[in-house]
């Protein structure tokens, strides 16, 4: 199954794709003059038409006062599936998960005031992880703007720093252009969230405004012209460094997935025989069973990966941004390495680390242009280098792994649970992580073969992300099994969405890794705050009874031999299911790079024992 992604810069789905067929169907269905019930075309109709034109098939939303004119017409557009969430934060995360799983623009919807502020966390999450999203909010009628009306907040003022762009629309005639621009901006170049705030009267006004074509959209935004092709001279400089390097390492980031460049990445790595490491959001950029896949880098990355980076003479950074969780202390980061940095966002170049050869462009196109410029290598050419890397890997992977399924206290080991979920789903399911220890276990141990099969809140680190994002992912890729893997802390932040799973029959499998702790907080308190465990012990409900209250089949595992059984039981459920895994309470995720330290300063064991 290939994954339908739009080429960067494409405004509408390519001809012949299912998305294009859906758009054509939607257009045919559009009744510009005579709406059902004999009414005239109003701003709310324009919103629905615009969504259909953009290939949108699902909206995650919650109704409220000033957005009601839109909900009043939604029923006339049955092609737009509306998922009624239980909290607007979940709508934004669901749109985010939908976008990451499907490669399309996610859409979320809420009313003014508290609904809009509830969306903020999800919008910020999408911003920091460069996820294409359009967030729509209603606002009070234009005449009341600025008067502290009921449920009025200056939401465009609030979302200004956490969106790629935002709009306040007071006139229905402006809606066609604004929506066309918003989708173009959200999906083009470095993707990101765009917020459209619409006054209630703009939704209600009659309008005959027509939808713009792509040329008109481009003409309206001359300040937005991303660079897609790498500069020829920079490509030659990069090729020279690549050909000369003895210990090169590829750092693959989220950009590989956003640009659908996994094929180019693999071709480039195979031609040059350069090992591929990945960031947290770069998980899935390369099949982890590929001989050149070397693993996950950074604060909780594998020691062998960080060692390879620290001893490299060339880093080839592809669609990643040298986040502090990746570099640690910059002054000690890969000090012997030259750096080639490919990113579509010029502002990422030289932001966190100084680089030797910057290349601004779409990573897929840059790699395609680079491949014919670099010398072909055979694995034998790098025999000594590969032998050393292999030895480091053997050593590092043997630690921090509990093949028996039990941690040292005999309780379930989380790494084993995650590995079992990966194996049971044949490494093909979409796994959505929450934030904290569970996120690191999910990134390290599930084993990924497929792009976009791993979804995680990277930049913002939003606890509570997993369940709502998994709802969106399951709808975005209905052909793939979808799991939300959470800690007990994150699950309790957004568990109200259990009702959404039931009402809209979204078949998400939920795995709660319950250690009765805020595990990562507890770990930091143990390691860096002298065991002062303030507020990290966490009570939870009886999760089986909770699931039962919602009518969701639920299972529990407390011993290693029960783990495969409950996973299969949950998979056999037609619809959502929940598994409560009682894991070791004090298991740490190791290694860890302490804050402010460098990649060579990993802590691998604590209290004399490997974790």
């Amino acid at each position: 199954m290939t994954i339908m992604r739009q080429a960067p810069g494409r405004h509408l789905p390519g001809a012949g794709t299912p998305e294009a067929a859906a758009v054509d169907h939607a257009r045919a269905e559009m009744l510009h003059e005579a709406k059902p019930r004999g009414r005239t075309r109003i701003g709310a109709d324009v919103v629905c038409e615009a969504l259909l034109r953009q290939g949108v098939d699902v909206i995650f939303g919650y109704p409220g006062g000033v957005i009601l004119p839109l909900y009043d017409v939604l029923g006339d557009y049955p092609q737009l599936r509306h998922i009624l969430v239980r909290h607007e934060q979940g709508a934004a995360h669901a749109a985010d998960g939908y976008a990451r799983a499907s490669g399309k623009v996610g859409v979320c919807l809420g009313t003014s005031g508290p609904a809009a502020t509830n969306l903020v966390t999800g919008i910020a999450n999408a911003m920091l992880d460069s996820v294409p999203m359009v967030a729509i909010t209603g606002n009070v009628v234009a005449a009341l703007l600025g008067r502290d009306a009921f449920q009025e907040v200056d939401i465009t003022g609030i979302t200004l720093p956490i969106t790629k762009h935002n709009y306040l629309v007071r006139n229905a005639d402006d809606l066609p252009h604004v929506f066309a621009e918003a989708f173009h901006i959200a999906r083009t170049g470095r993707p990101g969230p765009v917020h459209i705030d619409i006054t209630k009267d703009a939704l209600q006004q009659e309008t005959r405004a027509t939808h713009p074509d792509e040329a008109a959209v481009l003409a309206a935004i001359p300040g937005f012209r991303p660079t897609f092709e790498g500069h020829a001279r920079q490509l030659r400089l990069a090729a020279k460094l690549i050909d000369e390097a003895a210990r090169p390492v590829i750092l693959a980031g989220h950009g590989i997935l956003l640009a659908s460049a996994w094929g180019e990445l693999r071709a480039f790595a195979e031609r040059t025989q350069i090992p591929v490491t990945h960031t947290l959001l770069g998980v899935g950029a390369i099949d982890e069973t590929h001989p050149l896949s070397y693993g996950y880098m950074g604060m909780h990355g594998w020691k062998h990966v960080n060692r390879a980076i620290q001893s490299a003479d060339l880093l080839i950074a592809l669609g990643m941004r040298f986040d502090d969780r990746v570099t640690g202390k910059v002054s000690t980061y890969a000090t012997g390495a030259k750096i080639i940095h490919v990113d579509i966002d010029p502002a990422e170049i030289g932001k966190n680390v100084s680089v030797d050869v910057p290349i601004v462009g779409d990573v897929g196109r840059v790699l395609a242009a680079l491949i014919p410029l670099v010398a072909e290598r055979r694995p034998e050419d790098r025999a000594a280098y590969f032998a050393e890397l292999a030895e480091w890997r053997r050593e590092s992977e043997a630690r921090s792994w509990h093949g028996s399924g039990a941690w040292r206290d005999g309780l379930l080991s989380a790494d084993y649970v995650v590995e079992q979920i990966g194996a049971a789903t044949n490494h093909d399911a979409t796994l959505v992580a929450d934030v904290g220890q569970n996120q690191m276990w999910v990134a390290r141990y599930a084993g990924y073969r497929r792009p976009n099969s791993h979804i995680s809140s990277g930049g913002l680190g939003t606890m509570g992300f997993a369940l709502p994002a998994a709802m969106g992912a399951a709808i975005g890729r209905p052909d793939k099994e979808t799991w939300a893997i959470c800690g007990d802390g994150g699950f309790q932040m957004t568990m109200q969405q259990l009702a959404t799973l039931v009402q809209d029959q979204i078949p998400v499998k939920i795995a709660i890794l319950d250690n009765h702790k805020l595990g990562m907080i507890r770990q930091w308190q143990e390691l860096f705050y002298a065991g002062n465990y303030h507020s990290s012990h966490l009570l939870g409900p009886d999760y089986l009874k909770l699931a039962e209250a919602y009518g969701i089949p639920a299972f529990r595992a407390t011993t290693p031999d029960e783990v495969p059984t409950v996973i299969e039981a949950a998979r056999a459920v037609d619809g959502p299911a929940l598994i409560h895994f009682l894991i070791a309470e004090e298991q740490n995720i190791m290694p860890i790079m302490p804050a402010g330290k460098g990649l060579s300063d990993l802590i691998e064991e604590w209290g004399g024992a490997d974790e």
């Binding site: 200004l160 910059v330 002054s331 012997g336 100084s354």
Partner: protein, 207 residues
């Protein structure tokens, strides 16, 4: 102009080899951290769509990127739908380039140019209300004349002076007038234009 990169002001930076001076400042075995060099005054010109909220976007972004604006002057250009901002701030070259690149990401920003190293006219306007009694008025007027300022309002015990010039020139005038008693002052902040036929070009404007 066919190469999209050359349309950007930082094209030169991308095309250039690594700055040997920057490399030399880093000790061997230590990776230098961008933006930690010596700070000095920069003058940025931003050409933007003349739309509600654009000033807020620019100011908010610079604040969010942890920069202080020394001055920001804004007004429309020869085209009423296009505004031009002159922004002065302090930072090292890399950090200010980072601000400029971030500004570029704003959809309403059409062009950003750092004119710090360009020969330029850089003037600001100041209105200064100075205490001026019968005994001191003549002396105040003399100073204003020397600085090619002019008197725009006269009252019984004060005058309003208008002065234009570089920041340093206005500073000097203000220092001299300080002895008489400045009751109120307002300055526009610097506005800048590059000397000669060169102009700050931008690609197009929103329809």
């Amino acid at each position: 102009m066919s190469d999209p990169l050359t349309r950007r002001p930082f094209a030169a930076a991308y095309a250039a080899a690594p700055d040997p001076a920057a490399a030399a400042t880093a000790a061997p075995g230590v990776r230098s951290i961008p933006g930690t060099g010596a700070a000095h005054r920069h003058v940025l010109v931003a050409v933007v769509n003349n739309r509600p909220g654009v000033l807020n976007r620019v100011a908010s972004l610079i604040r969010a990127r942890n920069f202080n604006i020394d001055s920001l002057a804004v007004g429309h250009t020869e085209r009423p739908d296009v505004s031009r901002m002159t922004i002065t701030l302090h930072g090292d070259d890399v950090a200010v380039e980072q601000v400029a690149k971030q500004l570029y990401k704003l959809i309403d920003v059409l062009k950003v140019q750092d004119v710090t190293s360009e020969p330029r006219i850089e003037h600001e306007l100041a209105l200064i209300k100075v205490r001026a009694t019968n005994s001191t008025r003549a002396e105040v007027l003399k100073i204003v004349e020397l600085y090619k300022g002019r008197v725009v309002d006269v009252a019984a015990d004060s005058v309003i002076l208008e002065a234009t010039g570089t920041e340093d020139e206005v500073d000097a005038l203000v220092a001299l007038l300080g002895g008489f008693g400045i009751r109120e002052m307002v300055r526009t902040g610097a506005t800048v234009m590059v000397r000669g036929p060169q102009v700050v070009e931008y690609e197009g404007v929103a329809k």
